[in-house]
């Protein structure tokens, strides 16, 4: 059985491929719709975490929870209240980080 040899087949396939396409205004069209580049903002992450923590602390200020945690902290006896306050602060801080990462995307 006769078959096309490799060289002939490669030649055929190469010819089938029309090659690079002429620009014809394509690049200009793409440049017109290119969105503004968002520069990476490495400071955003710690700032977001800090702001989250600060806001939570301010929100907890009038509540007895924070006062109880402060008393525990001053007495050097960290208990459940301190753990809860820490967990809230950490949670809101993480939420802030998540938001910052989402913005970066």
């Amino acid at each position: 059985m006769n078959e096309l040899d490799d060289q002939k087949l490669d030649e055929l396939l190469r010819c089938e491929f029309a090659g690079a396409v002429a620009d014809d205004g394509f690049s200009a069209r793409v440049m017109r719709i290119l969105p503004p580049r968002q520069r990476s903002q490495p400071w955003l992450l710690p700032i977001a975490a800090l702001a989250g923590g600060l806001l939570t602390w301010l929100a907890l200020l009038p509540s007895p929870l924070l006062q109880q945690a402060s008393r525990e902290w001053l007495a050097g006896d960290l208990g459940t209240t301190s753990a809860v306050v820490c967990a809230i602060l950490l949670g809101v801080g993480l939420l802030g980080c998540g938001w910052a990462l989402e913005e970066a995307e």
Partner: protein, 193 residues
């Protein structure tokens, strides 16, 4: 250092500048350098739908612009772009698959007949038909070989192991040879056409 290496170094330097300065004009140079082959790749993958190919090419370059800092220079910039373009194409196929089941088996190699003179039109039609009978991966692997990508680069674009690419190219060619045997030299059947 060959020409491809020199071009790759120029691309890498341009990417570095575009990322550092956020300068769209530098990206435009990259765009003009690569648009021709990316659009050709997508036209070839999509068949006779240059408008859709250009839409996907546009999407490819916008994505490349957004993700430019993710280009680490592990491969040539052109290869990286081909990979993004291939992903856009697959995504398009998936979205279209819901509408028409045959999309995945499409047209992948529905050839534009605007290419260079390739001998008999009948041979071109037969080659076209034969290419359609190859699997998706065989056609894509053959396409990227024709685009001048090495097997390693094709593996990157197709996101498959190097060995699989080589196998797809070899099996694709074997199948084409078999399907086009009527066109082999000294074949009596060819003379009857």
């Amino acid at each position: 250092m060959d020409d491809r290496d020199a071009q790759a170094r120029i691309d890498a330097a341009l990417v570095e500048r575009a990322v550092r300065d956020g300068d769209a004009r530098v990206f435009e140079i990259l765009l003009r350098r690569h648009q021709g082959l990316v659009r050709a790749q997508l036209r070839r993958l999509l068949g006779n739908d240059p408008a859709m190919a250009d839409d996907l090419a546009q999407e490819t370059f916008v994505l490349a612009w957004r993700k430019l800092e993710q280009f680490r220079g592990d491969s040539r910039f052109g290869t990286w772009l081909h990979r993004i373009a291939h992903s856009c194409f697959l995504q398009y196929l998936r979205s279209k698959a819901g509408q028409t089941q045959q999309s995945a088996e499409l047209d992948l190699a529905e050839i534009e007949m605007t290419g260079a003179d390739n001998g008999s039109p009948a041979l071109r039609l037969d080659l076209d038909a034969a290419l359609r009978r190859l699997s998706h991966n065989q056609r894509a692997a053959l396409l990227y070989s024709q685009l001048g990508l090495s097997h390693e680069e094709a593996a990157l674009v197709l996101d498959m192991p190097l060995g699989s690419v080589k196998t797809h190219v070899a099996r694709g060619k074997a199948k084409l040879r078999q399907l086009l045997q009527d066109w082999a030299p000294n074949n009596d059947r060819r003379d009857k056409r």
